[in-house]
Amino acid sequence: MSKYHSTISRRDFLKALGLGGVGLGAAAVMPPVFHDLEEAMASPQAVLKRPSWVKEVDKPTIEIDWSIMKRFNYFEVMWAGGFAKAWGSSQASLIASAGAGNTALARKQNRPGYTLADTALNGCTTQATVSFLGPRTSATPATLGVPRWEGTPEENARLVRAFLRIHGACHVGFVELDTDTTEKLINSYDGAKVMSVQGPRLDILDVDEPVDKPEDPVTGGGGYRIIPKKARSVIVYTLRMSPELIHRAPGMISSREHGYMYDLRTIVQGQLQNFLRTLGYMGLGDTLPYAAFCQSTGFAVLAGLGETCRAMHTITPDYGLMQRVFVVVTDLPLAPGKPVDFGVTKFCRVCKKCADYCPAQAIPHDTEPSWEVKGPFNRPGVRHWYRDEPLCRAYIYMAGACAICFGVCPYSKVHNAAYTNAWQATVATTPIFDRAIRKMDDFMGYGVRQGDDIEKFWDLELPPFGWT
């Protein structure tokens, strides 16, 4: 046996000595050392760990009718052409310019969340590029003179999970593409660089190689992209957001945290695509810095990373809403996960805190979810609390940014308080205390920061990445 395989981590060593608890803090800040892929696959990072009260289920906790669902045109979303379509061009321009005026005034008045420092924080994005096919800068099995990687779907899943975990992903899961069901979560049209332009068509065809052919290289509009039918696996991963930034919504500080996750995604996605390329497989990803070519939340739910909620985001047992979900499609066979149930959708029926605090009142207060969509900007086929997207986007324009639904959700308290773990375990087991837990959340003063607390951000001694 190689002597490298006898290497144990600092944490295991300390645990063996009975000093696990003492050394945990010190060991946690040290990066793990892997000497080969097999070692990485055998590492704790290669396993998706969940608390005992998270149960695997056969069907997602939110109902899906695949016969109603159709592949969605990204142009309908508020961040592309949907906003002008919903409000009318002149009204949409008016809202956008009024919003820009509002933000400028808030900046001049030095309002908390809009100061020059906050604006600089939000504007620091490098807007690095991502691409459908990836950077293609890594070696391939052909250039290395070796056969491509072959493993069972389970081994491959552990491999990809280990890779993504050491590159910053919090949760990693997998979904198998099926023409009649999960394939419908991939958009029919991708986004374009210019939001008023219809993006390239996304076809899933029986071809050997993927194709990326937008018609106009400047706008990124028109043309087509092809996902080969043989690419049947979806890799779903999350990048963790800082609660401290998100709890300062609305404003430039919380806005930066969303922007940062997209920035980080450009790096992680490119690295994953290069990794898959060297193994001998394709990795097809998002093409725009702030857009997705599929319904990421849907894939996260099917992969068992979390449950969806009233605010239409993903809630995970570990971080609540404090993560963003990203997706890459590959032809590497990967063992799919199963959906999970830890009581979120039942709790959402009672809690309604996001709906209460939504300044645009875009999140419905209805107790039961509905099959009825609010407009072409919603994707039908899911029994959900469909958000009024034009209202949501209009408020984002007017306030410059918003993430209040992320910040106020009781699940967004991700610190290690025993109380948080206790109520989450209770909610996962029985819904009878849901109303009391929501009331307790208000009583304890949880929610977004207000007034001067917003600017205290600059005085905080935050841990790396602001992960409190």
């Binding site: 608890g21 003492v22 025993a418 003063g445 409190t468």
Partner: protein
């Protein structure tokens, strides 16, 4: 930190049991129950206080002390008060009994 707190609590409890035995103070089961419940509530409150402070929460740390810490402290104090009251009552009764016996003894 919690390992240290656990050790301190363990040592204090063991010392308390020895002290009670040396003083021949008997504590009723319900006094133990009140004391343990109060202690658990106080530890729970402290853990949540510390975690909330670490998460830069502004209101929650104080609320945890108020909602869980204060009732916990009251329970512990109640348990101590009950035990002391019973102890002083029993010693007083014993003294009265002894005095009574002395008075009823025939004069030599």
């Amino acid at each position: 930190m919690w390992l240290v707190i656990g050790l301190i609590l363990g040592i204090v409890l063991v010392a308390l049991v020895f002290w009670l035995r040396s003083r021949k103070i008997r504590v009723a089961w319900y006094e133990w129950l009140l004391g343990v419940l109060g202690l658990l509530s106080m530890v729970f409150s402290l853990q949540n206080y510390q975690a909330s402070v670490a998460a830069f929460e502004s209101t929650a740390p104080g609320m945890f002390l108020l909602v869980f810490g204060l009732p916990g402290l009251i329970l512990v104090l109640l348990a101590v008060a009950l035990a002391l009251w019973r102890y002083s009552r029993s010693t007083r009764l014993a003294r009265i009994k002894t005095d009574g016996e002395k008075q009823s003894m025939p004069q030599a």
